[in-house]
Amino acid sequence: MAFVKIKDEYKRYKMGETIVAANDGVTFDIEEGEFAVIVGPSGAGKTTVLNILGGMDTADEGLIEIDGIDISDFNDKQLIRYRRESIGFVFQSYNLVPNLTAKENVELASEISINALDPEKILQEVGLGHRMNNFPAQLSGGEQQRVAIARALAKQPKLLLCDEPTGALDYETGKQVLKLLKDTCENYGTTVIVITHNQAITPIADRTIEINNAKVRKVTLNPNPKSVAEIEW
């Protein structure tokens, strides 16, 4: 039984007179502990998939099963609870609360989680032990993204969802962040799903799902994923 199972999922938007499908019968599975990459061009519908997986949006049709639980029929409150307990998000634009220090940003998540990790410890693990009391504005982009990852991990989520985590970062920093995500997957056994338009990242993934034009075009399993250091773009 797959850990993440999406079957025949549809999401349609009304654009004036016409109806546009963002997801048009998307189906794929991801196993527990995998490092999965969803790749595709802009507007392909990959963010929609991620949002639906993360409980931020609901599908119009289809089955979405996470760890054996179908979330497709969840109401708002159930969805919030699902996000609170099971999901960690990392955004392209970090979305840290500017008025809170790095540590406090992590605390923001750990405060509401039942089995949260120690914020200080997790910040040390992402290599920010020395910058814990800095405000986001005092941190570089990579550091901010690492805070965001720490914040996502603090809740010990079942699923870590990352939307273009390296999009706003330069090459080196981007690689560092990717490595952090990959390490997390390996060390904690967290299932990580990364969305990117960057095909170059796919070699490090256990599973690559290609989405184009609202449909899954190809799912590739990679028995021997490369390390982050080995890839280039």
């Binding site: 609870r81 609170r84 979305n95 500017p98 008025n99 406090e104 405060e111």
Partner: protein
């Protein structure tokens, strides 16, 4: 160039941000509506009243005179330039059954201008004689309906209503208001009934039976176009008043002469009639006197006869009584003797009985005594027989041997032995002597021979000498002893001792003999006693004989007495017959006399009745004459009063009310507007910030700064100007209507006159534009200073910073995580924090001012009439009343037990004037005594509650007067009375007071300042009774000539309360408006807060914060700011309240500056309530925020 797209963008922007557009629109609308509305209310009030006056042709001037107005007067008035005159008859009456004190006014029967005429409310005007139209106030409409018949009466003896009216019964044909009485309740005062007029009524002029008018109403053509209450009008009326006064200036003298002449004619005629009548009466009286003399003589004769008869009766009765007394005395004496005899006999019988008893006892005693003697003698005999003297029993031989032997031994023993033999020494003594001898034998140095002989003697002696008991057998001894014991125990013991040899025989015998003698003496005693008894018997017998002899004598005396009694009775009978004859003769004489008297009496009564009648008529004539004479003297110079509308109840007061609203309008709406401006300013600034990117884009596209600004300018102007226009319409209509209608319950006025005031319109539009359009323009200009590229980048969110609090770890470390976030967020947006606090505090301040105003206003009546003026009634005294009238008053006061206490006071109105301050009417208040002043008026310091007393050190001055004239203790205040006499008083203390100005002086101090002793002209009374009682008491008082008028505090207090309650509606309007503003302000500020932080909020939503947690994340700050704002607002409100009070206050009145605790609580709670409602709105809004949209990566 049309730039159509730009305009499209503007309208799309409006459609897109409906809420923001609406909130600017609403805030401006509220601000403008409130500003213009409150501003317009005061002029609208004046306009409404003015229209009402004009429509109903209210008089400008009213003329009255103390002696009414004659046609001459009216003609003079008509000649005043531009005048229309209407003269009316009026008379105050009481309506039968309801006791409503009503002023009856005539309606004209000519086509003169219709001044002050009734405004029909129901029914029709009176057209025919006997029809009446009543006051439309509740007191009448509740009691009467059309068709009812009413009757007039009065309680004033000096008024005869028949003189005033042709008829006293009227049928109600309608109800009406009068332009003279715009106030719903007050109708002024009267000299009848309870002293207060309940209302008015109109009847046709022909139903009045008066030949002089009571009042004349005047209007002037030159005043028609002036607005009532305006300064122009007031000045013009003053001029007209002066003109009328001038026209009438000679009339008082003329009128007095007319009146005096008329009275003098009447007096002369009356005097002649009186004199004739007096002579006739004297004649009749003489005839009566003669008849009376004759009767008196007859009476004297009769009286003499009666005197003699009475003397005879008296003598006869005395003699009979004396005889009877003698007989009675003797009978009594006899009776006494008889009783004595009976008593003597009884005593004798008792003595006899006692004697018999004694005899019986003696007999008894004799028997037992004899037995005792016989037995005793026998026992003594037998005892004596057992006693022996030794020399009788011992043989002579032995006696000799004993004596001789003893002599040989020694003389001592020899004596003993001799005694023994003769029986004088007891045996035991002898034996012991012998033992002694024996014991001595060995010690005696004798020869043995001698010793032997002594021994032999001893032996012999012992054989001879025996103890007596040895010779008497023992059983005999016992028998003897027992027998003797029955006589005397000592005797038994004696014998035992004798037998034992202890007592010698001679002694024994002697004792026994003595005992026998004693026994035998008993017999002698008994004999003596018997002899005594016999002597007693003899005595008794003798007395008995004497008593029987006395009984015989009594019987003889009784017979003699009975005879005397019979004789006396006979004499009495004879005497009585003689007396009866004499009495009968006298009775006859008396009857004859009575007949004569009766005849005389009936004739006399008739005559006297005639005389009394005649005298009464004379007295009446005299009284009338006296009255007329007194009137002649009393015809003081008539006074003519030329009054303006201010004497109409409610007229001036309405203006005061309008002015009060005007004062509130000075400050309140400005403050209101200020808050509205502040908030729209913030909103516009925020809008510009949000549109930063677009500004940059447009700039990059090459649009000019003006083009870019235009969008915001149009947006803001459109919102604010539409808001302002609708606000103006709403304000001009709503506020005056609501407030004037609130006063409507107090005044009967025509419909509300709505005015549009250009000044307010312009001010409103300018401020509205400044707050929005100009702000937007400035904000855009500031943004436009940056270059396009910069602008297109999003404005970096505000950088997080450590706040000051974090440097105090002691506090910071105690905060929970959420508290830390809240604290930091508050300080993050300092400007918004200040705006929020300012906005909320402003609203709270407005609320508090509204509530506080209501507190202050409603306190005035309670404080003035509850705390300061503690008396229940004030009676105005007629200082010119006669002593008799004053006594009447004193009696009524003393006999009214409900009255608790009273204080007479001299009160006079003085004028106080100082440069730069309006002249003020001041009541000089001088109590007759200061002892119990505190029961009537409380003189206290408002803040320290220190109580003052009146001393000679100076005056106590009411607070408002002191404020106006800037007086402190020690200052001097100069007052001027109606005759321009100035007095100066030193201010000693300043006392709490809310209505009118008072200067309190002690009587001594008054005297030292004025030089006169104050004469009390008012009387303050304390009691605790119902309104009904007050009415009754008031009626009693007004009937007295010593009373000019009565006012009850309850009535003033009620009336005052009504006026002020209408101001409460104004405060409600203030509170509701402030509440609305508070709501919009909070909503707007919160909205801005949320939109500024939408990304942050979306983030925490994504993190899995529940909706409630998200709302609280923002709202915790808002709530804290609300609390801070509320606290600041309460302080601010207190200041604003003080300021508004100061402006709204009239010179004559002081509001209580105290704001009730509850008002603070309400204001705070309301603010918090709005904050909570806004939170609920925000909660819904945040719940629906599209977090995905917000989190979209900014490219």
């Amino acid at each position: 160039m049309k730039k159509k797209t730009l305009w499209k963008d503007i309208f799309r922007e409006i459609a897109k941000s409906k809420m923001r557009f609406l909130s600017i629109f609403l805030i401006i609308l509220l601000g403008v509506a409130f500003y213009s509305g409150i501003k317009a209310t005061s002029p609208d009030m004046v306009d409404t009243a003015d229209t009402h006056y004009k429509e109903n042709n209210l008089m400008d001037v009213k003329v009255l005179s103390t002696y009414g107005l004659t046609n001459d007067d009216i003609e003079l008035l008509k000649n005043v330039e531009g005048s229309f005159v209407e003269a009316v008859y009026t008379q105050d009456v009481i309506l039968e059954g309801t006791d409503l004190v009503t002023k009856i006014v005539s309606t004209p029967n000519t086509d003169q201008p219709d001044i002050n005429q009734p405004i029909l409310v129901e029914g029709r005007l009176p057209e025919n004689s006997g029809e009446i139209i009543l006051d439309a106030k509740n007191a009448y409409t509740e009691e009467y309906s059309i068709g009812d018949i009413i009757m007039f009466k009065t309680n004033d003896d000096s008024i005869n209503l028949d003189d005033s009216f042709t008829g006293l019964t009227y049928q109600v044909v309608g109800f009406a208001n009068s332009p003279q009485f715009i106030e719903n309740n007050a109708r002024g005062n009267t000299s009848i009934g309870s002293g207060t007029l309940d209302g008015f009524a109109f009847i046709p002029q022909d139903d009045f039976n008066l030949d002089i008018y009571t009042e004349a109403y005047l209007t002037f053509s030159s005043l028609e176009d002036l607005q009532s209450y305006s300064d122009e009008y007031e000045t013009a009326v003053k001029d007209k008043q002066t003109a009328v006064e001038e026209a009438l200036s000679k009339r008082p003298e003329e009128r007095r002469e007319e009146i005096q002449q008329r009275i003098q004619d009447e007096i002369d005629k009356g005097q002649a009639e009186l004199d004739d009548g007096r002579a006739e009466i004297e004649e009749g009286k003489q005839v009566l006197a003669d008849a009376e003399t004759q009767l008196a003589n007859a009476r004297a004769e009769l009286d003499q006869g009666w005197q003699e008869y009475n003397n005879g009766v008296e003598t006869f009765e005395t003699e009979i009584a004396n005889g009877q007394a003698t007989i009675d005395q003797n009978t009594q004496e006899l009776e006494n003797s008889r009783i004595e005899i009976v008593n003597g006999k009884a005593a004798l019988d008792t003595a006899q009985e006692e004697l018999n008893n004694s005899k019986a006892a003696l007999e008894q005693e004799r028997i037992s005594g004899e037995t005792q003697i016989v037995n005793g003698t026998a026992a003594l005999q037998s005892a004596r027989e057992t006693v022996t003297i030794p020399n009788e029993t011992i043989s002579a031989e032995n006696q000799n041997a004993l004596v001789n032997g003893a002599q040989a031994i020694n003389p001592e023993i020899s004596g003993v032995i001799n005694g023994y033999l003769e029986g004088t020494v007891p045996v035991q003594s002898v034996l012991s002597a012998i033992n002694e001898v024996e014991a001595n034998v060995s010690s005696i140095d004798e020869t043995e021979e001698a010793a032997i002989s002594i021994q032999a003697w001893i032996e012999m002696a012992r054989s001879v000498i025996q103890i007596p008991g040895m010779n008497v057998p023992l059983d005999q001894q016992v028998q003897v002893s027992e027998q003797l014991n029955t006589i005397e125990v000592e005797l038994g013991e004696l014998m035992t001792n004798y037998y034992d040899g202890v007592i010698p025989p001679t002694n024994t015998v002697e004792v026994l003999n003595t005992a026998e003698t004693r026994l035998l003496s008993i017999r002698q005693q008994l004999d003596n006693y018997e002899a005594e008894l016999n002597a007693g018997q003899e005595q008794i017998d003798q007395q008995r004989a004497e008593l029987e002899a006395a009984e015989g004598q009594i019987a003889v005396g009784r017979a003699a007495l009975e005879e005397a009694q019979n004789e006396l009775n006979q004499q009495k009978e004879n005497g009585e017959i003689e007396l009866q004859q004499a009495e009968a003769e006298l009775g006859q004489g008396e009857a004859e006399y009575q007949d004569a008297v009766e005849k005389f009496q009936s004739e006399k009564t008739e005559a006297e009745a005639e005389i009394v009648e005649a005298e009464a008529e004379l007295a009446k004539g005299q009284r009338e004459l006296d009255k007329a004479k007194a009137e002649l003297d009393d015809v003081t110079l008539p006074e003519y009063y030329v009054l303006d509308r201010n004497t109409n109840p409610g007229y001036a007061e309405f203006k005061d009310n309008a002015e009060r609203i005007a004062s509130i309008a000075e400050i309140f709406p400005v403050f209101f507007f200020l808050i509205a401006a502040l908030v729209s300013l913030t909103t516009m600034t925020r809008m510009v910030d949000e549109q930063r990117t677009q500004i940059g884009t447009l700039k990059a596209l090459g649009y000019t700064n003006w083009d870019i600004s235009k969008k915001f300018l149009v947006y803001a102007t459109l919102a604010s100007l539409t808001g302002a226009v609708i606000g103006l319409l709403l304000g001009f209509h709503l506020f005056p209507t609501v407030i004037i209608n609130a006063y409507g319950s107090l005044y009967n006025l025509s419909s509300v006159q709505i005015g549009y005031y250009l000044e307010d319109v312009i001010v409103s539009l300018i401020i509205a534009f400044l707050c929005t359009g100009l702000t937007a323009l400035v904000a855009v200009r500031v943004s436009l200073k940056s270059n396009a590229a910069n602008l297109m980048r999003p404005k970096a969110p505000k950088v997080g910073k450590r706040i000051l609090l974090e440097r105090i770890p002691f506090i910071w470390n105690r905060f929970t995580f959420t508290q830390k976030i809240t604290a930091r967020n508050i300080f993050r947006y300092k400007r918004r924090m200040l705006m929020t606090v300012a906005g909320i505090s402003g609203c709270t301040a407005l609320l508090l001012t509204g509530f506080g105003l209501s507190d202050s206003i409603s306190d005035v009546g309670t404080l003035q009439y509850g705390k300061i003026n503690q008396y229940e009634s004030i009676v105005a005294l007629n200082t010119g009343a006669t002593d008799y009238e004053k006594d009447e008053y004193t009696q009524l006061i003393e006999n009214t037990s409900e009255l608790e206490s009273g204080l007479k006071v001299y009160q006079e109105i003085y004028n106080a004037e100082v440069d730069g301050v309006n002249p003020q009417d001041v009541t000089l208040f001088v109590p007759e005594t200061t002892d119990n002043l505190d029961e009537f008026v409380s003189l206290t310091d408002r803040t320290s509650d220190e109580e003052y007393t009146l001393t000679n050190a100076g005056a106590v001055v009411s607070e408002k007067l002191a404020d106006l004239f800037d007086l402190q203790a020690g200052d001097t205040l100069t007052l001027e009375d109606a005759d321009n006499q100035e007095i100066s008083v030193t201010v000693d203390h300043i006392t709490e007071n809310y209505l009118q100005h008072f200067v309190y002086l002690s009587p001594d101090y008054y005297e030292s300042v004025v030089g006169e002793v104050p004469e009390a002209n008012t009387h303050l009374l304390n009691f605790d009774e119902s309104e009904n009682w007050e009415n009754g008491f008031g009626q009693q008082l007004t009937q007295l000539d010593a009373v000019v008028g009565v006012t009850f505090t309850s009535f003033i207090s009620e009336a005052f309360k009504d006026t002020l309650e209408s101001l409460v509606v104004v405060t409600i309007v203030l509170v509701v408006s402030a509440a609305l503003l508070a709501f919009v302000v909070l909503y707007n500020l919160t909205n801005i807060n949320v939109s500024e932080r939408i990304r942050e909020l979306s983030t925490i939503k994504v993190l899995g914060f529940y909706d409630k947690e998200v709302t609280m994340y923002v709202y915790r700050e808002n709530f804290l700011l609300t609390l801070m704002g509320t606290a600041v607002g309460l302080l601010l409100g207190l200041l604003l309240h003080g300021f508004v009070l100061e402006t709204a206050e009239l010179d004559i009145m002081m509001f209580s500056p105290v704001v009730a605790l509850s008002s603070y609580i309400y204001s705070a709670l309301l603010t918090i309530l709005f904050s909570t409602i806004v939170m609920i709105f925000m909660h819904v809004k945040l719940k629906n925020v599209d977090m995905l949209e917000a989190l979209k990566t900014v490219e």
